[in-house]
């Protein structure tokens, strides 16, 4: 059976490979999610915007 895990090496290869694929997919997905979250902002939510507003 091709999907069977017999050794620790099989297990690590399977789980680590999938983890790396998931991480890359998630990082790409986060770019689109951030754009989805922020595309309607009026540009006043960046760090430091408050300092310009409140000089003290």
């Amino acid at each position: 059976m091709e999907n069977a895990i017999y050794t620790l090496h099989d297990f690590m290869l399977r789980t680590e490979s999938l983890t790396y694929i998931l991480i890359v997919a998630a990082l790409c997905g986060f770019i689109f999610f951030w754009r989805f979250l922020s595309e309607r902002d009026d540009g006043r939510e960046h760090l430091g915007a408050d300092r310009e507003e409140h000089p003290h």
């Binding site: 789980t15 998931l22 989805f36 979250l37 309607r40 760090l47 507003e53």
Partner: protein, 389 residues
């Protein structure tokens, strides 16, 4: 003609007061039974299940939902987002009361509560995660108390003492973030000691990370949720700054919560990939796990994002309440449902009614204390005699 002041006397016997009064009386009676007859008379705890809802709800949920204090003060004082300033005091108050009630509930849960200071004075116990949790909770409760005192000192008119405490704000905030990072994660790490007792879908080497990240979501959601309740019930106590900033706080926190929930979802999926627990998703526990992940993580993530994009406060406030419930579900799952999953149903834990009674009593004490403090002290408004800090 002299001005006449009309004082409207509110009736003492409101439905809230009656219900709260009954809960407090019943809670006090159970307290007497607990401390005179012991844990056996008031709980269903056993050697298999030494941690019940006083840990699963009062401690794990209480600490997570009290995270609003460090999240908000870090955003305001460390990241310099001063537009959240009006949200800091209510968040610190909620955090302080949350931790105080956690410690109160611990007195009921531990067999010999007078030994709670033992980790610090009798033996160090530094190899135990519980020691770290005990040290951090004790220190952070002290930090939250000091952070809360400016409001109390303003109320008492102690200007000199208040000016000293205010100077410590940044140091206390940094200290609070460090301590919260430590013990929020350690509460999850406590379960790492029992990998064979936790269901594989909830057990992960990343449990500490899950608890810490979810505490940020809990803190953000709790600030929004508590803010919406305060607007409903204490609107007259809020000053112009609070009312002006409240919508912005909710929108920004919703955006942050959506972002953190997305990250939390990913690390949970990665956790399953790491332990290769996919096969369990088709079981009954797997379905419940999917309910938690899809219903209480992905769904609020989406609705927070929609609420922040559309600037729809109604969606955000409802999502905040749903997310708070989701945190309760998660902590119950880790502490009670997924724990000891292998035991036969006759050995599984279900709380005694008196345990539930004490948990309701503790929450009621918190609500009453919050109501008293918000009514008397400058929490939702800035005291006119003092500058903002």
């Amino acid at each position: 003609m002299p001005e006449r002041k009309i004082v409207i006397q509110k009736p003492a016997l409101t439905p809230f007061n009656v219900v709260a009064g009954i809960i407090v009386v019943v809670g006090l009676i159970i307290t007497v039974i607990r401390f005179t007859q012991g844990l056996g008379a008031t709980t269903n705890l056993s050697d298999y299940n030494p941690w019940g809802i006083w840990i699963g709800f009062d401690l794990l949920v209480g600490v997570a939902l009290a995270a609003g204090g460090y999240v908000t003060s870090a955003a305001c004082y460390i990241f310099g987002l001063k537009r959240f300033h009006s949200a800091v005091r209510p968040a610190i108050l909620t955090g302080f009361l949350g931790y105080a009630l956690v410690v109160l509930a611990l007195h009921y849960d531990v067999g010999r509560p007078w030994r709670l200071p033992y980790p610090f004075i009798v033996q160090s116990g530094t190899t135990s995660l519980l020691f770290e949790v005990a040290a951090c909770v004790a220190l952070y409760l002290s930090v939250l108390f000091i952070e809360f005192t400016p409001a109390a000192l303003e109320w008492l008119g102690l200007k000199r003492a208040r000016s000293i405490v205010v100077k410590l704000t940044l140091v206390l905030t940094i200290f609070g973030v460090v301590l919260s990072t430590l013990h929020q994660s350690s509460l999850g790490a406590l379960f790492l000691i029992a990998p064979s007792k936790m269901h594989p879908l909830w057990y992960s080497p990343y449990l500490a990370l899950y608890f810490f990240v979810s505490s940020i979501v809990a803190g953000l959601s709790m600030v929004i949720f508590e803010g919406s309740l305060a607007h409903k019930h204490f609107h007259d106590k809020m000053d112009a700054e609070h009312l002006r900033e409240a919508d912005g706080v909710a929108l920004s926190f919703a955006k942050a919560a959506s972002w953190v929930l997305a990250g939390y979802f990913i690390i949970k999926v990665i956790g399953i990939a790491q332990t290769n627990a996919w096969g369990y998703l088709g079981t009954g526990y797997g379905l419940w796990f999917l309910v938690e992940m899809l219903g209480f993580v992905l769904l609020p993530c989406y609705f927070y994002a929609i609420g922040a994009r559309e600037k729809n406060l109604k969606i955000i406030r409802r999502t905040a309440a749903w997310t708070v419930l989701g945190i309760v579900v998660n902590r119950f799952n880790v502490g009670l449902i997924a724990f000891n999953y292998h035991l036969p149903s006759s050995e599984r834990y279900f709380p005694h009614w008196m345990e539930i009674g004490i948990s309701v009593f503790v929450v009621t004490i918190g609500i009453l204390a919050y109501k008293f403090i918000v009514t008397h002290m400058p929490i939702l408004y800035a005291h006119p005699d003092y500058d903002a800090h």
